[in-house]
């Protein structure tokens, strides 16, 4: 039943996009996190996607899986704030390397992709329901 496999394909995409949204939420929440001197500041997490074959599906119609979550290697943001309790000897504080604009774009892209896949699921569901009524 090919149509039922769409549930697996779009379902895997929903999961992957939800993980991406999760990473965005975590990054935005920690956008202004300050690290104490000697501690590693928060690094933005990025979710990597890869294709994953669906069992029993048409060959060449894979789903999506999260292959890994990587940490952004960009240097931490350094802000001059000598009054801050976490300021180092030169008066700088190390903040996370989250790029807020990038994360907002990421969030919109992930939510649009999520919506697209929900609509695909709905269409497949409707077609299956109509197929069940075949011959009646």
């Amino acid at each position: 039943m090919s149509l039922a496999k769409i549930f697996s394909i779009s379902g895997s995409a929903l999961q992957a996009q939800a993980k991406r949204l999760n990473a965005v939420a975590s990054n935005l929440a920690n956008a202004d996190t300050v690290a104490a001197p000697g501690q590693e500041p928060y690094r933005a997490r990025q979710v990597l996607f890869r294709t994953e074959p669906v069992q029993g599906g048409v060959a060449g119609a894979p789903g999506v899986a999260v292959s890994e979550v990587i940490e952004d290697s960009a240097p931490p943001r350094r802000v001059y704030d000598p009054k801050h309790p976490h300021a180092d000897a030169e008066g700088y504080v190390s903040m996370s390397n989250v790029n807020v604009v990038e994360e907002m774009v990421n969030m919109i892209s992930a939510s649009r992709s999520y919506q697209n896949n929900v609509e695909v699921l709905n269409t497949a569901k409707n077609l299956l329901a109509k197929t069940l009524n075949l011959g009646s």
Binding site: I9, A13, G60, L127
Partner: protein, 131 residues
């Protein structure tokens, strides 16, 4: 007699199965819209239907191989990469979301059409049987 009934419905049944398979491929394209390096794929429906109906009855797009000793069915649907479109994505992804959504909606409608034709066939046969 049974063979005649089977033949009457074979064409639309094959079309229905192939539409479902194409729907799956298109769903996969939409699902992988953000996967780096993914190449959009599609099924040449007309060629696949021709192959399925040319095959001997019962060996078309239908039967599943549940054991390795079964004869291989004639593979009707060949999934091939879609001709490259100019999306220009730097990550090597060739999914054009607008085009995929159009193909998906179009294929869903044609699936419903095949379903309706098949339903009509069944109703005709039923009224012939019941009088």
């Amino acid at each position: 007699m049974i063979d005649g009934i089977d033949k009457a419905m074979n064409f639309q049944a094959n079309a229905l199965i192939l539409r479902a398979q194409r729907q799956q491929v298109l769903a996969s394209n939409i699902a992988n819209a953000d996967t780096p390096g993914y190449q959009a794929a599609d099924i040449d429906f007309a060629a696949a239907l021709e192959r399925a109906t040319a095959a001997a009855p019962g060996t078309g797009a239908g039967p599943a191989r549940t054991a390795p000793t079964h004869l291989a069915p004639i593979s009707a649907a060949i999934v091939e990469p879609r001709p490259a479109s100019a999306t220009g994505a730097l990550d090597g992804n060739s999914v054009d979301m607008d085009a995929e959504r159009v193909h998906f909606a179009d294929n869903a409608l044609r699936y419903e059409a095949a379903l309706r034709f098949l339903n009509g066939k069944i109703r005709t046969l039923l009224s012939a049987i019941q009088g």
